[in-house]
Symmetry: C2
Subunit: 286 residues, 2 copies
């Protein structure tokens, strides 16, 4: 069976084949049988993966700070009913790369240790990652990919026949580090499948070339490649170069953060107030 790999450099560059209603319906329908892969290398998807591997119980993502606060409040009520209190819920995220005032954690992977997150509920809002998650909401399945767990992501994609790789970008700009990981995923998929059976869109071909041309064969080379991007330059300017190196630790984590099914009753609360903006719920699968 042929495998279709569609890659989008940002949510904006993913277009339905045509603007008419019939095509849009067909496009949504096609998305339903699609597995989406969200990429925000610097740093949302690296943070989510690190937190998942460190034992976080659930990750709730929101677009706005207000929604993050509302979700945390609702979760604290639920969790405290179980005797855990406010300690069991962490407010996490950034604006302009910096920790949000009053939040427990910012967006540095180093903050997400077992000591700080194991067994806890994480409510997270970031500038770019959340928009990318929303853009693929119609997809049946959603994986969060980082260089940290590239091989685990590929294992999860082994049986998929329709894959949508959604790069987050940086403030709506195409960001090279996300494109590189997208290209790395395309490269491994091409290796694992018969190339004649794989259909790539133009962006997937371009991302693949970008990754191959980067010629990465060590973590140091990967960190160097990631450094030449708009996402990295913002971090380096703010003194966060260590985060770039951390996000380049290829395959240091086994497991993948995946979106929970809507019917998953083990996510609390099961019915969140979506009046501010949509909330997505994620869990780590080792």
């Amino acid at each position: 069976m042929p495998v279709t790999i569609t890659l989008a450099f940002t949510p904006e560059t993913l277009l339905a084949p045509s603007q008419d209603a019939a095509s849009t319906d067909a496009s949504v329908l096609a998305m339903e049988s699609t597995c989406a892969v969200m990429i925000d290398v610097l740093r949302a998807s690296s943070v989510m993966t690190t937190a998942g591997a460190a034992g976080v119980d659930r990750i709730y993502t929101t677009a706005s700070v207000d929604q993050a606060l509302a979700v945390a409040k609702e979760l604290r009520t639920s969790v405290s009913g179980q005797g855990d209190g406010a300690q069991g819920v962490l407010l996490c995220g950034e604006r302009n790369c910096e920790r949000i005032d009053g939040f427990d954690h910012g967006n540095s992977p180093a903050e997400y240790t077992s000591e700080s997150v194991s067994g806890k509920q994480m409510v997270m809002t970031t500038s770019n990652g959340t928009r990318a998650i929303e853009a693929v909401k119609h997809c049946d399945r959603l994986l969060i990919a980082s260089f940290l767990n590239l091989s685990s992501v590929l294992q999860r994609l082994a049986d998929e026949t329709s894959i949508l790789i959604m790069c987050a970008g940086t403030h709506r700009e195409i960001s090279r580090e996300d494109v590189l990981l997208g290209g790395a995923i395309v490269e491994r998929l091409l290796q694992s499948k018969s190339a004649s059976d794989v259909v790539l869109n133009d962006q997937a071909m371009i991302a693949h070339a970008a990754w191959c041309q980067a010629g990465v064969s060590s973590n140091a080379q990967l960190a160097d490649a990631l450094t030449h991007s708009i996402g990295a330059s913002n971090l380096i300017r703010l003194g966060m170069a260590a985060d770039v190196r951390r996000c380049a630790e290829l395959d240091s984590i086994s497991g993948v953060v995946m979106r929970c099914n809507e019917s998953d009753e083990t996510c609390l609360p099961v019915s969140l107030d979506a009046s501010l903006d949509p909330v997505s719920r994620f869990k780590f699968f080792s």
Copy 2:
């Protein structure tokens, strides 16, 4: 002096650094000292270059068919005053890759021979190229680039210190053939300047990698590379594969189509009715 190369995969992926008014002003200001390069390999920029080399007098581009008709009417009045009559003005362009009903020429380079266009005024409307031209209207200078005249384009860029490479794409989708030419221009600029003096945006880096990875060293390889793109697949489906090969004839033309200055009184008419959509005027410089 450092050279800044900004590349946009489509008009939509060119973003001002920020949305606030001060930055937008700064961005327009920066564009004013910038030389823009418009790329629509399949086929608007290849057609314009071919027509220019075949001796067309002026090319007027419009977004809409209605505006093309209005401009042609105005030109015919002017030209007939010079004794040339309606024969001196050609209506050219496509919708969905096909010649527009009632127009003289479609969008195949092969149609633009000396016999058919020499000394004439060309009014042209295409699906994608015109939008890309409009997106860079604030730039001081605008060159039309194709693989046909790559070396001539590079000669014109030799002394520029701020270059904006605008790929047209296909119906707002990123199209690989445009990105490849953009990458080829970046590659030649990097060769001609000290690499440490060149600042690339992420899209320029990605395009550069796509071109280098394509490993093109002959026209046949270039045609093959162009074939794997959304733009080419549309043409091939319509039986126009010969156009793809034609647009891959690297450096077969010496000279560049460039936008005329607003004050250029040799363009007729000097004041066009822009009530429908903007009109740009071009001339071939050998």
